[in-house]
């Protein structure tokens, strides 16, 4: 499955709107890690997925019950809900290289 994904990325140019990316970011309050994760995510999305992404931010201090579904333990956690398969990246996304690998926007 991984190979198929990577081939897609390499051969086809980003198909705007056709293949939307839905990303969900879990944070807990306005901590420095949370804030840096939000800004890093926005920056990366603008650079690599401009016009074809949606970001959902869930603050677990406000809605802790939402962590149960995705079985979130660490904060911040980014979940790529679409395209499938689901993938998750933990941390404040300050390591751009690893974030791109995690999102499969870049081969390992």
């Amino acid at each position: 499955m991984d190979t198929v994904d990577k081939t897609d990325q390499r051969t086809e140019p980003p198909a705007v709107k056709k293949n939307p990316w839905i990303l969900r970011l879990y944070i807990a309050g306005q901590t420095s890690k949370s804030l840096s994760a939000i800004s890093n995510l926005r920056r990366i999305c603008e650079e690599y997925l401009a016009g074809q992404y949606e970001i959902e931010i869930i603050d677990l201090l406000k809605m802790p019950q939402l962590a149960e579904g995705d079985k979130i333990i660490a904060i911040p956690t980014l979940v790529r809900r679409l395209p499938e398969p689901m993938r998750r990246i933990i941390g404040d996304l300050s390591d751009t290289e690893k974030t791109l690998v995690g999102l499969q926007l870049k081969a390992k």
């Binding site: 879990y26 807990a28 901590t31 890690k33 840096s36 994760a37 890093n40 677990l60 201090l61 802790p64 019950q65 962590a67 149960e68 079985k71 979130i72 333990i73 660490a74 904060i75 911040p76 956690t77 398969p85 689901m86 993938r87 998750r88 990246i89 933990i90 941390g91 404040d92 996304l93 300050s94 390591d95 751009t96 690893k98 974030t99 690998v101 995690g102």
Partner: protein, 499 residues
Amino acid sequence: MFTHVPNYPQIEKIETGITGFDLISSGGLPKGRTTLVSGTAGSAKTVFAVQFLAEGIKRSGDAGIFVTFEESPADIRRNVKSLGWDLEVWEAEGKWLFVDASPDPGQDQVEAGRYDLGALLARIEYAVAKIGATRLSMDSLGAVFAQFRDAALVRSELFRISAILRQLKVTSLMTSERTQEYGEIARFGVEEFVADNVVILRNVLEDEKRRRTMEILKYRGTSHQKGEFPFTIVSGRGVLAIPLSAMELKQKSSNVRITSGNKELDAMCGGGFFRDSIILVSGATGTGKTLITTEFLKGGADKGERCLLFAFEESREQLFRNADGWGSNFEELEESGLLKVVCAYPESASLEDHLIEMKDIIEHFKPNRIAVDSFSALERVATPKGFREFVISLTSFIKHQEVAGLFTATTPSLMGGTSVTESHISTLTDSIILLRYVEMNGSMRRCLTVLKMRGSLHDKDILEFNIDGGGMHLGEPFRHVTGILAGNPRETPYGIPAI
């Protein structure tokens, strides 16, 4: 020296409800604290963690949170069903809540920057508040470390979680892995952050036999029993610890005499056995141990007493036929409800499981007298240490029931000697009856002597006895023979001891 004794506040404990553990731990787990339960793979950590919550719900309606890092909730629900815990019912009642932190198979996780375990903490806090939980189990910490690369961060986050649980007044239990039965307390140095209380579960292979034990290694600021205590896992009940040294010696002893079922033997014992006593009958195979057992049971049942026999050597058919041959009809006695015969192969279960089952039967049948024939057959299925603990545990349990117990022990050599059972049990028994073969003038004869009769005078003779259709008949003492008990009888023709 002791002029200044600081008055520390007493640490309160909550009863876990895990049989035996509350006795070993002098009252249960320290309230509002975190206790680490550490053990190797297969040491029953998860069962212990589930039982802590299950007993809380069953006994006092305490709601509990189960945080799982390893198995999925579905697996846990299924696995503990056979132990008698229906988690779904409790979940529906709002008494049990899972915090599912088990990894999804095949989903790898990339770490890209700084993180903490704030989400886990938020979920735990939310869960505790949602059902008003006062107990929490976390199983197991090793799996959390497997999910994240930064072990130091995980350690400090777990410390934070245990501190917050303390603030929330939640008594918690965390399990962790060990790689060896006797070595470091836990992997990843987790004991450092919950170092206050540590319980070790062991599952040791000793002489080809599995032996489970638990030990409280540390209970900061509060008392507990020291050393390893055997335990077993029983379906429908879970972990059952068998506390030995924790047991109190508070058996009552009475002066009421009961019949041995044989008038001549009663006379030798100064009027019968004492009611609350343990009698050991020791002898080589074929000397008449099962006969004495049979008469003991028949004698009791004839007086309307309830009698229980655990037979580990012979089948029901054999026992009943033998009894018939000595004039006791076991079939009738069983029909009358006064006798219960339980036959089992020693090898059919571990010694711990035999013990639990025997205790259950005793509690259920409520006998006035109990016989075990033969006790020494059980030696085969245990290590010497395990057997010793079994003997102590069973004898003291029987004494607590205030009934008479008669155990038989088979000596390994035909002409005398002692068995392991004897050396373990002899100090615990109130009376010892020895049966021996005596080789004299080219024939084998049998003799009996009462070696010990606590709290009473008894006949010290070594009597010859015969067995016929009416049972055992004691005869004349061997006056001119020495060395019978040593297995080396010698005649002294003129009444002068041989030199």
